[in-house]
Amino acid sequence: MPLSVEEIRKDFPIFERTVRDGKKLIYLDSGATSQKPNAVIDAESDFYRFHNSAAHRGVHQLAEEATDAYEGARETVATFLGAPGGSNEIVFTKSATEALNLLAYAMGNAAPGSRFALEPGDRIVVTEMEHHSNLVPWQQLAQRTGAELAWFEVTPDGRLDLSALDTVISHGTKVVALTHQSNVLGTINPLDEIVRRAHEVGAVVILDACQSAPHMRINVEELGIDFLAFSGHKALGPTGVGVLWGRINLLENLPPFLFGGSMIEMVTMTSATWAPVPQKFEAGVPNMAQAVGLAAALDYLTKIGMDNIHAHESALTGLLLDKLLAIDKVAVIGPTSNTERGSALSFTVSDIHPHDLGQFLDSQGIAVRTGAHCAWPLARRLNVSATTRASLYLYNDEQDCQALADGVVAAQRYFGSF
């Protein structure tokens, strides 16, 4: 079903404002963070207004309501991801970055010889297109444990080079951590073969779904993966909340990460035991209002339909690719074919530095992101120190794409004297 962007935009108050002296806001930076519908903003405020209290921690009515709201949010996330083990498989974090660090640190806390312990001779596999948040934690874990970090390279057209799949994911590989969709290239990575091989050697597969979960239907069971992380703020949700999903038996065997209130079973001055999953991973008074806001976001997305959203973005991406590629001196960084790709679209315009292009577009009301997009190794591999990235979401339409194309041409005119 095609989306009615006009109707959808009415739900997002930010589109009522203008930028740069009255210009219409053309927001093409959802890959960095999405805008929020009223349903989400209200869910968060209503929690504070009507039910605010510390979940799990009181006998009073507000505490009951806060607990219900928070645990209800967990159910919503579990359903959204198709978690086979239900809501106990959902851990709320502050962000995807924290979720990925949680995994790396928790593995670092594993007792030598136990399920998740890494040691010299073990291997962690990532890819060259990872966001720093799914790269640096693994670098550090490798350094701390003596495990080796290996990676899949990226081809010039922005796909994973899987030709050496069985050598990269060697025996001894314990962790394969990769992104579902590149935040720079838009590439959607094929998972079947990677998952098959990873499981063959006994590794767990960790999926960074920051750029996919907000944009397409995800079913963790169908994907066959073991852990998944995504951020609320890129999925119409509030800032300050992320999700870690893990298979229940894995989460149960994984040591905890943050220590403190609510994650313990018993504590003495010198020792402590842990609460069951998921509490074991949620130390302290949780980000309740943000979890509730995220649930409202996922409800909103589900109501519109993830397949509809994906189809909408695909159509726009195709259009935008055509429009940009038709402009002289524009090069798209990443797949130029509109298959197995999402709606993050990076490009360069020769002679205009992305930072200058972004600034010019901003003067036209068009919000894009410029730089290396937290993926320096990828930028270096593709030999572009910086790019301009447009990223689309359900509230974008053809006019936005046209505005960007026009903006690029106008920038070429503006900086033409170069």
């Binding site: 799990h56 006998v59 505490a63 219900d68 509490q279």
Partner: protein
């Protein structure tokens, strides 16, 4: 007053006069369960003869709901077969999950239907279940010996 549906007379009775409290010195298995959110504790000893719960004793501390519940449970399950006890356990768990919509199966639960009111107080369900979860656990341990 809604509170009265929680604090049924029979519950307060068991709290004041707990049954089977005081741990037996012999047992097939022993478990110690804690309600991490409020610190209630229960230790439960079980002895099985063939398939029958021949001894079930406990010690603990906590609120009226947790203590009355384990007291009533030990009364109810003592002398039952593991099968029958499991059916009663399931029925009790179902009642606790009913959010006040069920009055409980009096044939199976007998006096323990008094806990029906607890299911309306989400913060107390764990209290009522503490002893029962310990029972579930202790049976597994006794059987795997």
């Amino acid at each position: 007053m809604q509170l009265d549906s929680l604090y049924q007379e029979v519950i307060l009775d068991h709290y004041k006069h707990p049954q089977h409290k005081g741990l037996s010195s012999n047992f097939d298995a022993q478990v110690h369960h804690v309600n991490t959110s409020c610190g209630d504790e229960i230790t439960l000893n079980i002895t099985l003869e063939a398939d029958i719960v021949s001894s079930l004793t406990w010690d603990g501390q906590g609120c009226s709901i947790s203590q009355a519940s384990v007291s009533m449970m030990s009364d109810l399950l003592l002398g039952k077969s593991i099968n029958d006890a499991s059916a009663i356990l399931s029925s009790f768990c179902e009642l606790m999950a009913s959010k006040g919509t069920s009055t409980g199966d009096a044939d199976l639960l007998e006096d323990a239907v008094a806990f029906a009111g607890v299911s309306k107080f989400p913060g107390r369900i764990k209290c009522a279940l503490l002893g029962w979860m310990a029972f579930k656990d202790v049976v597994i341990q006794a059987q795997s010996k």
